[in-house]
Subunit: 504 residues, 4 copies
């Protein structure tokens, strides 16, 4: 409300009250101004009232919301459904221009501001999360895999001779396909088993670079966040190799923002060697819907080059989600989530250790993996490998989501490449196992329910295997609580065997 | 509500009323069932009540909305902000799986259904709009340009030797960049001037194919919807050339779904020759926010191949928007929009003709372009080419969006390629001109305001050019109405000269 | 957004675009300022964007939305549920103060403004609808009946000796109870049959005044809108009697704002005689949810006295609903609705006439009733009075709502008073009949469906009555369309006989 | 979703996933069924997903949401504005029928269920809060004052001779006006000073009953929640007097549900004597917007009599708010709020005590008041009574809401009755004071900010009074934090002196 409006209001209602209301509005505006000026995530989260006012203020700056606008182009931000307009807060023009996803749109000053501010906030958070020297980033409305593809496509123009991407193996399809889609040939570097952990084979990487010739290598494509017993790649050493041979280095940091360890690896890699870009998922790190990623790096012009590679406009939806989320949380709120995740990791780790020992299994020792854990399923697998699969299916029907059983020796062909021991990141891992992860937003209740249901499933499977079994689980007393889920699950068990292996 | 619920309700409220309520619910369910069974757009649009009930029903099938779910994975559909959850109707898991954007997700049966149904509805509408023999399509949460890139990347695997894309020139950046981003070399085929129209040079295309060798050509990349005086490419003939030489054919049908002529061209091309895929924007054809496209074709397996090329999950947001929109409109509603657009095209054409003649200009004769019109700016340009640019700037500040002035001889370099006469689709168009288009959703009011404001701007520019000018516009009587916009615009005119050329 | 905010924005995005956005915001503000300054309903409705911005602006002026507020009172506008806060646009403090429902609240300048503006808009609309000389009104969050009670309670303090309210009979319970609840004794004046119409017996009214003595009469309580064959009271003559005897006159104008005839009667009554207050429903006249009324009059101080009678604060919800509705419609939108209602009345009248004649019945001739119509059910009633009731029940189960069958001779006791011929406004109306009304918002489709379903029901009832019946309805060709409803209804028919008489 | 829908879904998506989704839906339905069957507040709050599904299920049972409905009545639940429809979740018909606010509506089975369930939940919560033997209650969309009026109007019919209401003085206007509006003569019983507390003068009550004659007394109208130093009335003894003389007893329990002490008083009163009805505010006890109250009692037929007194339908909005709130909180959530309020009361009490002592004032000793506190303002008042008013004004401009200064000797006339010492509940309280309350939903932050700002204000006022003053406040170190509010307030101080006394 501007002065004239307040003056009009004062004729209807006591001036003292109206002026106080007017001053109160200034507190909201003060927060908005700070945001626009500093471009940093506010420490304390905004309340919904400020947030919606801000979005409203931005939206009225877009031409589709001009009261006097007349549109005679082919794209005027017209919306057929009021439901759709509302759910997008009337931001219709998306972000970017034909030339550049980070560019400003003449028809949409508000959406352009939204885009700039979001990228600025996200940069602030990446610093806060541990990569202090990051200089540039942008949100792109594509998942991690397609964003990696965009990075590779950008590098193609810089390295016309390159055909290969060197890739320490990680058994996750979209990661692999991101290279295929970009038209390159992945050179798979098998991992080394160190204790229980699967780690980067640095010598093999360097040997491969020499063998292929640095100019024929588009880049090294490494990974931080991954399922145990694989652990984050040795980023520092890889970064040094890349620097030495003049090879770009792209890091898949899919859900690594939530872990200070992953972020530290990137920071260190960039300090001692070469990291050209690191890519992270929005949904997995910021608790927003699937569909966006952040491409970040240490060199403005390279990051801009990538943003200019995206041909055409793009959805503002992921940017809007992360903007709302970060403004609601504030940096303090986000830090709190990071802290809780770490605590939950310890808790899950302890509980899983206890349970596994009760069943003569063990928690794999994977201290370098800060997010994912693995528990062996040796005794299950010994009798019959189908039992491992069955366990996965049972967990699914009991509404345990995200747990992942990895049987031995499964074989899979992805885009023409055959992987032995698929899902386990290596050809022959010593045993079958089950994964569980502590991701941002997890609650104690998730852990407790998981442990209880896993216990029940293990018991059932074992009983079937061995009628004279006398093993007993850890926490069988309170059978009552979870009865509904169990009952329902029994009905479904038969139809679900095929769906037990939910790789991400 | 199920039977038990209704029974409980009957104890509180008269059974007769509750049963009637129960029956009433069945009418909503009946519509949903028809949709799921037939997969077609309902003839009459649904009301919001049915629509929201349907979305709610789907959403509770996703694991993040299970009351008893416990998540121990790295991606569990957790949402930090209630505002964000609500605006996505609690669909958090996106669409697709790592391997395939059209695949079903175990964690998200509801989102998977949403995805399937949306693709099915969209296919139905494409048929209805004129491409009757289309067999397969999918919505992808990327704009048209990136979607074209994805098509090209898919073709690469089929045609390993190919380096070139043959492209009848159209001056639109994202269209050109889609080829560059995919890593191919565009081979620009200049258009031929026929009367006022710029049309495909078929002989040059065929000659180029022969010169490069069919195997080295990835595909022909043609365009339907475009700014006059360029007109849609001669698709039939191009399709025949492609068939003859065994070259794939990808059509950029950006905003062509709204025009029966564009759709007819595609239908005919596919009938007599070869069209592998045609790509269209969601926002430009369905009045939804920017950010999605439809990739469609006549061969299921090729379209699936493209969908499998997208690495990783993707945002469900564009699919949700178009689903809501089509269910709200119904096929009858969409047909009505198409009909109105056609009528508005005639109206705009007539009005612009009258105005141009009043200023000794003329409407270019471009009968093959069903959407865009062009009016010459000869007299303006004669004195000073800056006047053309100034007109664009003035229209912008008067809240005329989408009008586009094209001065002579502008030169632009895009991704290393230099285009003479950029924006005019040819090196030397005979005159400067101004574009206006009749796109879906346009209203009479848009046309009237545009004509009035254009008239004023032309008058002002002319006066400045010629102090003793005696030209008068068509409709100067009611100066009053539009006074606010004019006043505001005068203030802004000075700062906006740089922003006058809003190419899409 | 204020200047500082825009300045900050200009550093991120081109100043030209930001300034244009800034100017665009001023167009929204311009509308708000006009509203605050003039207090009149805008001619053209506002779009949602302006409306929500306005509500947001008001809401931030309430102390519960102050960012720095600390509350140490017993009522601080705290809200437990975010859903609840949002649905009220964060207006939590309601309207009014302990002393007066129209008073300004120190804690809630925004809600106070909302209240003032709503009352001002509503006053404007009442004038527009025909009562040009109304001077004062306010919205009260109580239905018509309770609002009438409040008027009577206010009059009590002015007329300590009065015990009676003179009331020309209208068979509507809440109307009657409004007097009982206020603690007065209704003196029922039976209506006179003139042709088919039931009209006010003026002589009986005057005789009663003389008999009881003017000082013992609290007021005359007359009615405009009512079910045919009763017609609006003779307001002019009643107003003259009231003026002559110094008796207050309260008019129940429940759904009369939608009819220019009802409004004209009030205007004339006030001109030639005495009308102290007239009360109308919000929902029935403005298409908002049930729960509010408007108390209006020609004397500021009396209307204020009523508003001061309401002890304590009150819900702002009905005011908010009518504010949103009127701003969305604009006065032009409201006038259009009034015009359409009138047309629909003619249409309904014609269709019902045709149908009734096909069944040897007739439409009662009630030219003074501008809203409600009645069709005789003589032939039905002749055989068996249960058939009339059965018809009502059948219409109910076929989702015809609001149709009302009136059998002969029903007797009902309300608050100790026994009415013969209840529902028909008279002891012995000559025949049974069925009512239908053309109320604001009715569509052609409503009329058509009603006529079709009524036709079917009549046919069914007649067949049952007379197995050799040969009567046929008007429009039997397209039996197909309405099949679903019919099928459903057949199932329900047996359970619903008890619910056939939906008096309002 | 019913079986047919799921079957249709299974053809599109894996049956295993669809069935799991189907089972998941049953968990939501299970909660709804429990609610409908038991009519109790669930222990754990529902999540928004279940809540909105439930509201949606109810809404589709109302005839205005029937897809095949045709309306020919005068009230058909039509809504002009989509915003309005949505904010009411499409419940348009309100609650109740002409005869009875608790009655079931034929046109609106869903709204009727909503009404029944809400009343049932609220009854459950009243029991939980301490009145275990309550048997009946209903929500009414009127504030406490008007609801009390309705009770008095109901009693009128039972006690035709009664003219007086005996009312132990409490200085709150709407409370007093509720009797005036109902047309009765309040007989004010002055309170007795016991220590610092003002308590019921039981002897005076009994003497008055005898003096007027029990038959001439409509009822005793007592109060629980009130501003210190007044304390809740001696309900037990009053209830016994009422029982002895056969006089009804109506309790104003405005914001007493939040205090176990107030609720206990009512429970005891009903046990040992007579309480006919007790009335409480919705907003003050359940953190919903202003506008509703609960009328509760121990005798079903009397409570029904009151509900039948309300003439006509009523707004469902307050019922909907409290339903959403209670289902969101669950009984555990509500209990938690009650517990926190109690703790906050202790904290506020301690902090206020410390502060008062620092200024040579003291906290009044009012152990019987469980919600409100009072701190003396002797030293302020000694010099100049205007200083007390000024303090109130200063607190207002510093965004302290709800604090209330009570100067000595203010005189006020309400509806013709003059009160000496108005606001202090007695003619001559020994000193001026300031009130603060710990109400439900208060946070530590509220207390801390209040104490800090009060400290500053007191210091400022004292300085002005006494230039050589050497008093220093308790907590002056961190001046920084609250600077914005202070700065803003200084600007406003001059205009706000008139608004310092915000009585509720």
């Amino acid at each position: 409300m501007n002065r004239e409006l307040f003056a009009a209001g004062e004729r209807l209602v006591s001036p003292a009250y109206v002026r106080q209301g007017c001053e109160a509005r200034r507190s909201h505006e003060h927060l908005m101004r700070l945001l626009l000026e500093k471009g940093k995530c506010p420490e304390d989260g905004w309340d919904e009232s400020t947030l919606e006012l801000f979005l409203h203020e931005l939206a009225v700056m877009d031409s589709n919301n001009f009261l006097g606008n007349c549109g005679v182009g082919e794209r005027e931000g017209r919306v057929a459904s009021a439901l759709v307009a509302r759910r997008h807060y009337r931001f219709i023009h998306g972000i970017g221009r034909s030339g550049d996803i980070s560019a400003v749109q003449p028809k949409a000053a508000g959406s352009s501001l939204l885009n700039k501010i979001t990228n600025s906030l996200v940069l602030d958070i990446i610093k806060l999360a541990g990569v202090h020297t990051v200089t540039s980033c942008f949100v792109v409305p594509m998942a991690t895999g397609m964003s990696l593809t965009l990075c590779f496509l950008t590098l193609r123009h810089r390295r016309p001779k390159a055909k290969y991407i060197i890739w320490p193996r990680i058994d996750q399809k979209s990661c692999f396909k991101s290279m295929i889609t970009a038209g390159f040939e992945p050179v798979v570097i098998e991992n080394i088993l160190e204790g229980d952990e699967l780690r980067t084979d640095l010598k093999a990487v360097e040997a491969k670079v020499q063998e292929l010739g640095p100019d024929h290598v588009l880049c090294v494509h490494s990974t931080t966040s991954c399922f145990a017993p694989r652990v984050p790649d040795r980023l520092e050493e890889l970064a040094v190799i890349c620097a030495n041979y003049g090879i770009p280095h792209i890091v898949n940091n899919a859900y690594g923002v939530q872990s200070s360890k992953c972020m530290h690896l990137i920071q260190q890699g960039a300090r001692v060697g070469r990291i050209d870009a690191f890519v992270q998922s929005l949904d997995k790190n910021f608790m927003v819907p699937v569909g966006g990623a952040i491409i970040a790096g240490f060199n403005d012009s390279f990051i801009q080059e990538i943003s200019k590679m995206y041909p055409g406009r793009a959805s503002a939806s992921p940017s809007l989600d992360v903007l709302i989320t970060l403004l609601s949380l504030g940096s303090n709120g986000y830090k709190k989530l990071l802290k809780e995740r770490k605590e939950m990791f310890s808790y899950l780790s302890n509980q899983l250790k206890k349970l596994s020992e009760a069943y003569n299994e063990r928690l794999l020792h994977t201290p370098h993996n800060p997010i994912s854990l693995a528990m062996t399923l040796r005794t299950l697998d010994k009798h019959c490998s189908r039992a491992v699969t069955q366990l996965g299916s049972m967990l699914f029907t009991r509404q345990v989501s995200g747990a992942r059983v990895v049987p031995l020796g499964s074989m899979q062909t992805v885009s023409g490449y055959t992987f032995r021991g698929f899902m386990s990141h290596t050809n022959n891992y010593p045993c079958a196992y089950l994964n569980a992860a502590s991701a941002i937003g997890m609650k104690t209740q998730d852990v407790d329910l998981f442990i209880k249901r896993l216990d029940k499933c293990l018991k059932t499977v074992k009983k079937e295997q061995n009628k004279e079994s006398d093993i007993s689980g850890v926490d069988n007393n309170d059978k009552t609580e979870d009865v509904d889920i169990e009952e329902m699950a029994l009905k479904l068990d038969n139809v679900c065997l095929d769906t037990c292996q939910d790789s991400s």
